[in-house]
Structure formats: structure tokens, C-alpha cells
Amino acid sequence: MTKVQLQETEHATPTESIRIGVYVCHCGLNIAGSVDCEAVAKFAATLPYVVVSKDYRYTCSEPGQELIRSDIKEYKLNRVVVASCSPRLHEPTFRRVCEDAGLNKYLFEMANIREHCSWVHLHDRESATEKAEDLVRMAVARAALLEPEEENTVPITRKALVIGGGVAGIQAALDLADTGYHVYLVERDPSIGGRMAQLDKTFPTMDCSICILAPKMADAGRHPNIELLTNSEVQEVKGYIGNFKAKVMKKPRYVTDECTACGDCVPVCSVTVPNEFDVGLSTRHGIYIPFPQAVPSTYIVDRELCLNKENIIVCDKCIKACERQAIDFEMKPEILELEVGTIVVATGADVFDPASLVEYGYTKFPNVITSLEFERLINAGGPSGGHIIRPSDMKIPETVAFIQCVGSRSERGHLYCSNVCCMNTIKDSLLIKEHWPETKIYVFYLDIRAYGKGFEDLYKRAKKEGVLFIRGLPAEVIEDRKTRNLWLIGENTLQQELYRINAEMAILSIGIEPRKDSAVIQRLLTLSRTQDGFFMEAHPKLRPVDAPTGGIFLAGCAESPKDIKDSVTQASAAAARASILMAKGKVTVEAITPRLIEENCTVCGLCARVCPYNAIIFDKEAKRVEFIEAACGGCGTCAAECPFDAIKMRHFTDEQIFAQIDAATQLDAEKKIIAFCCNWCSYAGADFAGVSRMQYPTNVRIIRTMCSGRVAPKFVEYAFARGAAAVLVSGCHIGDCHYINANYQTLKRVEKLWKKMERLELNKDRLQLEWINASEGERLASKIREMQAIVGSVSAEEIENSKKMMRKG
């Protein structure tokens, strides 16, 4: 326990009904190490409406929480401010404390004096304390204007849509169906199974991939709660958490359910193409079944290929061959409209195409193949019946070289590590050794990442079997034209010696990349993607399977490259998360949605035009503007757009933001930077800078909005009118906005402001716009460092000038 300081103030006027309690947290030495918390608490006591102000070692601890609860009762507090860590961390904790004490949770406010202050100004106690005081001043000013809000509840339809029928989608669908919910499992291909169905064995246990997958596929196929929609694509998704309406196009198979999968139709078909399932290493006919274990076990006609594609029957061989008369060329595409409460996105991934890395000669030299092609070759059900034969002469190679990190960890492919290739290669090398123990195997690698359960064992086994691991990727592969053997030239980096190794076959261990059409799913579901192109989770650690859009969950490689075990784990997690929502049957919507101030509204429709969610009903004739609360994301770009102040953004009102600007510019405005940061990316980026202890100057004051789209030009103008030296507006990168595309509006508004500043002959460098994502703490820190030059160069005259100009508006 620590000493508790009690300073009642005389500033709170008894007639005024607002009574604020301020709690300054030491967070051990995390804050107190570089901020004089006692001084901050004493300072807070002098602020208007503050009735009680205390500093405490760990405010989030149970005694700390109890302190607030008892004070709320004792001092009849109706607003609470805690100056501690980021609201992204403990706002929910303290909101609950307020609710426990009978205070509406929207009457709580946080000042972030840890991530945004003590951690980023470790070596300047005086300025850090000064900044902490300012941050508390801003929080108190905002708190005084907070209003109690009631949260709406939305019912949740107890049905789920799973997009993608790979192992992740199958697992998620099975879990949801077993829980008792109706599931639509939509798969684009004619069969479920996905990538896993193509693999031969799985690491680290070396069990047969299809043998463990096929039973699951069959389970999904016959589960009474699962409606399997193969050969189908999601075309449109509307609605919001709990109430999605999805349009799914079910493409015709031209083969009815009467099909018994006897296969009599296949030999008579006269057209062939490369078989996708065998990555082009074999052929299939115009009527085909993707692979023997396919679910549904029904044949399909490839109409693009079939001679009858022009809708004239010019060939009826298959029709004649089918005893059950299951072939029907009259089948038409169907559009299904599904109503679901939750959606699991398990759309999987593509593999990297190594043809762009010309030095490896893929597609130029027949004996250079990819690891996926290898899977089909070594698979007993594959085109070579399980024999690895090299394409040039169909001989079993005596020397095989694996090249790792093809397309991964590289500026010439993808920057990330694809997670599975190391173990996949080790598994593949063991498979070769199992069948042909005499084969010489080289693995050229950068790092072997054998991080999972049982992985290191497998790695050791491969070494014991005589697989030679050489650190250093070949610079190029050269083909011997006569023998079609390959020369691999590179550096053995552990020996500092060059190697020149002859191999009869080279296998490129290709990486995993996002689906080429992920942008379509992204748009349909209003998801975000990380810089790598995979779908972004709501929180990388604590909400790893939730998409930022409510009611949508991610599973499998759609979220990031992962192996089968991780995909299944994540799928079960996604199913569980979706079940939580559906079991509850309703969800509360945060009360940060807009309210219309009717007397100001001119029914101009600007708000409806910028709304990313189409959540504003605008009817010029009926003079009606209405917000659909459940569909609203709460970005606030409508309020920023409204020229008539007719929209009140709850919990982020104009008045509250103006009050924060006022408080931030009260002292030494001419030396300060006012920064508007969006909750999801830039504010989180600033938090990240704190967590990473990236040091930057103390003169920045961050104001949090949900989206950069909330930053109305008038806020920026007001900051200049108050004499601020510089303003920074920051949000998620274009394309990564958590409110679909609201940050386009930010860009437009800032560009307008720049033009205006030019017109008024003000230095437009004083207004900066920067896209900062949650992991770009350094970008924020360096931006603020960079802006010091601007702050330093602004003359007193110019500040006065902008004060006048901007006040005029």
C-alpha cells in the first residue's frame, strides 16, 4: 500500500453540479520514474470542477479501484478522470469501476501519461511532468463536458456464414454446427478441402494429409446443421453485426445430386486441360471430379471447356454415358439470399509464383519445381503415383536440392516469413529419404525456423538421415543442357566458401501469399488488411481472430501464413467467438454514434455522401436525415463534413474536442504541436512508441478521435487560432482505415486546409498529415522530431497572424 494524498480544493463551486475526481497513477515507477505524480495530483486539484485529486501507486489494482468507488460515493463525484496508461488498455477497467459505483461509464475519462508521456520522455522529468499536467488539464476539460449515454442493443441472428472450405473453414463450420447453430459453408471450388487436400504428408507427425482431412470433409458434408454451398461465391454482404444479409451465387455444376460418382462420363469426354488440383502436372477432362475424396462427391462440368459452352448441345457423349441421367445442361446459376448473424472468413491463401525470380530458372528449366508441385509428385494419389520423377526425363533423381525462402523474407517477393516452408522442406526431405534412402539431399537455407511442438525433433531426424543443410541461398541455378542437371552456385556462409553443387532436381520452397482477390472480400465485408496483404485482426494479441468489423471473425491463412494445426486452432477460436455472440443473442453498440440536431440541419445530404457504411438515410423530398445506429461504425466523418454543426457525435462532441484544444493551448501554445490521432492506428502507434520507449520531444499534445475522419477543419483552424505552433493530423494508411475509407475524407479536408493556408499566406508546413499505423511508433516519433524544425521556425508574428486569420475563419 502506498500513501494516499488527499487535497480537497476550493475551486469547485457548490452551485456547479459537476464534481470531478482525478486519480494520478504512479504505475510503480513506470510513470513515477519520469513524472512527479504528486505534483500532477496537486496541480489537478487546482483545476475547475475538481473536487478531489489523489495520486496512487497502482490505480488499476483492486485497492486502487476501491479508492475510486468509495470516493465516488463519498464526494458525490459525477465525473472521474484517471491519469495513467492508455485508454486502449484500461479504459474498460475503470469504466466498470464507475458503473459499479453507479456512475454512467461514459462519464469516465483517461489521461494517457504513461505511453504518451513518461515512457517517451524518460530523461526529462521536468518537461514530462509539465506535459502530464497538460494532459490532465485536457482530460478534466473534456470530462466536464461528458454526458451519460445509453447503449443500444441489437439482436443477433443465430446463423453463421463460413466463407472458404479449407481445413479452417471446415473446422469452424463443424464447431459452430456442433454448438447447434445453422451454418452456411461457402466454397468457390467444386469441393471443400482446400490446400490441405493437395498435400501428401503433414509435419511434424508425418501423417497422411488427406487421410486425416477426408473424415472431417465427410462430417461437414453430412452434418444436419451445415448447408454446403460449393461452386459458390459470396457476391454481396450487407448489414451489420448480428444482422448480415449475404448474397451467394451458386454456380451450376450441370450434374445433379443423382450423380453416384461412378465416373463413366469421364473417359468419353473429348476435351482435356491441365488439372488444377495437381498444379498442372496432370490433365483432367471437361467433366471431372476434383479428387477422389471430394465432398460433395459429385462430378462437375467445366462449361468454359465443354464443347457445349455456347448453349448448343454439340456433344452429348457424357449425357449418353450417364446411366442415372444426372447430367443437365439446363441448370442455371442461383442467387441465394442468406441471413446470418456472424461470418467466419477462412478464404485461405495462394502460393508465391517463383517465375519472377529469373535466376532460379523456374518455368525455364524443367527440373526446377515448386514445393507444391513436389507435394503432388510424392503423393500416391498424384500424377506420378507417388514417385518423384524429374520432369525432363521421368527419372528418379539421385541428388535433390531444396531452396528455402523463395519469395519470403525478401524485397523481391514478400517481406514476411511464410512460417511453414522450413518444416515443409524438412518433411519433404524425410519423405524422399523414406522412399529412396540413397538420395543426396541439400537444403539451402537462411535460418531454419523449427519453432513448434515436435518441430526440432523432425529437424534433428532429417539431419540424422543425412540431409545436408547449407546456410546460404544459391545466387543462381544453371542448367546443363545435355543432362538437364542443375548447377547451384552460392556461398556457404558459415564457411565463407563458395559452393557449386550439381543436383538433378531443385525444389523451390515457395512462400504463402494473400489470395489474389482478397481485395474483393475486403470490400464486401469492410475488412482491413495489413501491409503484407493479409486480413487484419482487431487486436494482434488480445483479439487475434476478431476482424475489426463487428460480427466477423478470421481463421486460417486468410489472416496470416500458418500451418494446419494453427489454422484448426484459429478456426475453433473463431467459431467460439462467433458462438459467444450468437449464444447471447444480442449485442450492445457503443454509444459513440451521431445524433441529429434538427434545427441546424438543412437536409443538404453531405453527411450521407461521406458515410462509409451507408448508415445515413437521406431523403431530400421528405426532408429526412436519419442514422441507422446499428450499421454506424462511429467514425464521425459525417459530423466533420457537416457545415451547419447539425450532427452531434456522441462522446466525441465538438465542444469536448474544442475544450481539449483550449486546455492544450492554455500555456505556451506557440511552442506546441496539437496532434489528432485516430484510435485504431495512430493513437495505437503512439502507444507503441511508448511501449518501445521511443523518445521524442515533449511539446506534442495528442487528442484522440475514433477516426481521422472525425477531425473537422474547424478543429485545426481553432488550434491555430489558439496560437498552436503546428498541428499534426494522423490516421490509418489509405486503404487500411478501420472505417472502410473515412480517411479519404481526412486527406481531402487537409488538402483543402493547406490551400486555405496558402491563400492566407500562412506557412502550410505548420499543418502536417501523416499516415501512421499501430506498429509505426517510430514513424510517429520521427514525425514529431521532424516537426521541431517547423515549431522552431515559426515566428511570433506568424503565430499572431494565424491567430487573427483563423479566428476570422
Binding site: E359, C405, R409, S410, E411, R412, G413, L446, R471, G472, L473, P474, A475, E476, I489, G490, E491, N492, T493, Q496, L498
Partner: protein, 178 residues
């Protein structure tokens, strides 16, 4: 590396590492890419010189620079074997400007007076005549006899100015000092 205690004389002395060395490199243009090298060896394996040399290994030089083992880099004649073909830069998966980092290192070597004689010779040729190779009188006369026009004279004051700006004058001076 803090050098707190003297190791007993019998043991092999560990290499002296200078953690500030990499910052010296990173100050120069493209030198900043040094830090992201993850030692894959693409540079060495792509390097045409390395294939004919027992000692020239660009990857190793970059590693030594990261570690700050300056005594192994700057005096080494292998540093000067780069032909500036830029294949390494082209193929680097991490976008390290390998050839440029090597250039930075050569410049540092020059600053320390660690320039191989031949390069000083070439530089002073340029300084004195504007040509890397001093054309002998005899050759000039031969041109005349076969009816070739005389070689154009370089504008030496401009060469002088260029060398001054590029820091080449120092190189010449170091030669004069010798």
C-alpha cells in the same frame, strides 16, 4: 565493448569491436542500409569477383562492418576488389545497397590513409593530367605519325575543383606526404 579487465596473456585476444563504426558507415548515402543485412550470402554468391578470389567476400565485409571490426576491413586490400557491377545490390533480398556500402567503406579507408598505392597513383594521374592513365609522350607522337588528332586536353582547374569537392585532393595530399 567495455574493456573492463585485461584478459590473461595466454588466451587468444578477442577481436576488438567498435559499436560506433556502423554509425560512421550509416551516416553516408546508402550506408544506412548496412544495418538491415541478414547475412544470406546472396551478394557473395552473385559476385563475379568472388568466384575468382579466395578472399573477397562482400557478405563477410558487411558483417565485419556491422560488428565494427574496423581493423579487419579498412586496411584490407580485398575491399578494393569490387568492380561496381551492382549485381549484389540487384539481388539483395533486403534491399541492402551492398556495392554502395562497400564504396562508403572504401571512402572511410581513404580517410584513414589506407589507400592501396595503385589507387593513389591513378588519382594523382587524374589530378595532374585529367586522365587516369598518363599517356606517354611517345604515344602522343605516334598518334601524329599515323594521322590521329591529338588527345583533347582536360581542363585541369575543373578537375581540380571536382577533386576538391569529392574529397579527392586529400588522397593526393596523402600521397605527397608519403
Amino acid at each position: 565493448m567495455a574493456q573492463k579487465t585485461e584478459a590473461p596473456k595466454k588466451n587468444v585476444e578477442p577481436l576488438k569491436m567498435d559499436p560506433s563504426f556502423k554509425y560512421e558507415v550509416m551516416k553516408e548515402h546508402d550506408g544506412e542500409t548496412l544495418k538491415i543485412c541478414f547475412q544470406c550470402g546472396s551478394c557473395t554468391s552473385s559476385c563475379p569477383t568472388a568466384r575468382f578470389s579466395d578472399s573477397y567476400r562482400p557478405r563477410t565485409i558487411l558483417r565485419l562492418a556491422q560488428l565494427g571490426i574496423r581493423q579487419k576491413i579498412l586496411p584490407s586490400p580485398t575491399l578494393w576488389l569490387c568492380t561496381a557491377c551492382f549485381t549484389c545490390t540487384d539481388r539483395c533480398p533486403q534491399d541492402v545497397k551492398v556495392a554502395s556500402v562497400l564504396r562508403v567503406l572504401r571512402n572511410l579507408a581513404v580517410k584513414e590513409g589506407q589507400t592501396p598505392r595503385i589507387f593513389i597513383e591513378l588519382a594523382s594521374n587524374i589530378y595532374e593530367t585529367g586522365y587516369a592513365y598518363k599517356i606517354p609522350e611517345l604515344r602522343q607522337k605516334k598518334r601524329e605519325t599515323v594521322g590521329l588528332p591529338p588527345l583533347p586536353k582536360a581542363s585541369l582547374d575543373r578537375v581540380d575543383r571536382l577533386l576538391e569537392l569529392a574529397g579527392g585532393s586529400k588522397l593526393i595530399k596523402s600521397k605527397e606526404a608519403q
